[in-house]
């Protein structure tokens, strides 16, 4: 596998789609059950789009493709996202 970065780099693009910062959310991997911040997922940015993998088991947890006027977000690798809601 080529070199990866991490979920911190997804913050800008995800921030276009969501009103909360999804990189601080805790996601549970659908494959191995490990929970962790999306910021700490391993992100392979050079695939067509950005592919985030579980740091524990390397399964894909999130895929994000940003086109010129739309985005595709695949979250089937996550069973749950725990989000902190600002101001509550």
């Amino acid at each position: 596998m080529t070199s990866h970065l991490d979920g911190n780099m997804l913050a800008g693009t995800l921030g276009e789609l969501f009103t909360v910062d999804v990189t601080t959310a805790i996601g549970r991997c659908a494959s191995c059950g490990t929970s962790g911040a999306i910021a700490q997922a391993h992100v392979y940015p050079d695939a067509p789009g950005m592919v985030a993998r579980c740091p524990a088991c390397s399964e894909v947890v999130l895929r994000l493709v940003r086109g010129s006027d739309r985005a595709w977000l695949d979250l089937r690798g996550l069973t749950c996202l725990q989000l902190t809601i600002p101001g509550s």
């Binding site: 070199s3 970065l5 800008g12 700490q40």
Partner: protein
Amino acid sequence: MLEVPGWPGHRAGQHVDVRLTAEDGYSAQRSYSIASAPQGTALELTVQRLDDGEVSPYLTQTLGVGQPLELRGPVGGWFVWDADGTAPVLLVAGGSGLVPLMAMIRARAQAANRVPFRLIYSVRDPAAALYATELIERQRVGDGLGVTYLYTRTAPAGSPLPVGRISADVIASSGLPPADSPRVFVCGPTGFVETTAGLLVAAGHDPGAIKTERFGPSGGQS
């Protein structure tokens, strides 16, 4: 240095996405950490030029004073330190991974927060060290910031550590003990970050207290 009209302020450790768009519509985007402490609408980025890069050569060689730039941010709420923090902090930087950690050091000084900060800075040689003069000055103030340089190729005479890579010995001798329950921020190239995080956990640091940010030449394109 950028002047960003309407900048909402940022937290130390956050980054911005910079987008360049060519006349034919091709655009390339990269993330750059903010180096400055929050201060009005001014923003400082530190950009390492990659000769085969798509964005950094433009930012470092072509972009002139007064020219506009498209950026998005501040983004990233995970790898951040807020200046009202009360736990001791261990920072471990590899190369230009120092940039977001420098924002934390500056934010701490700006807030006159005296919580112990310890920085281990792994860098190729003295010429490659970022913010060297400023770090000397900030240590001289004596407000609880400690800096240890780890040179990976060439060390100056009198360097306390031998030339080498990050290791369990370096973390034990120059870090903060796990018993102090420090918050730990590690930023650098992917290999450096993963090695360091593994050493920290092996040394007994709480994995939940370790936050990491990897950087590399890659970035989003559209």
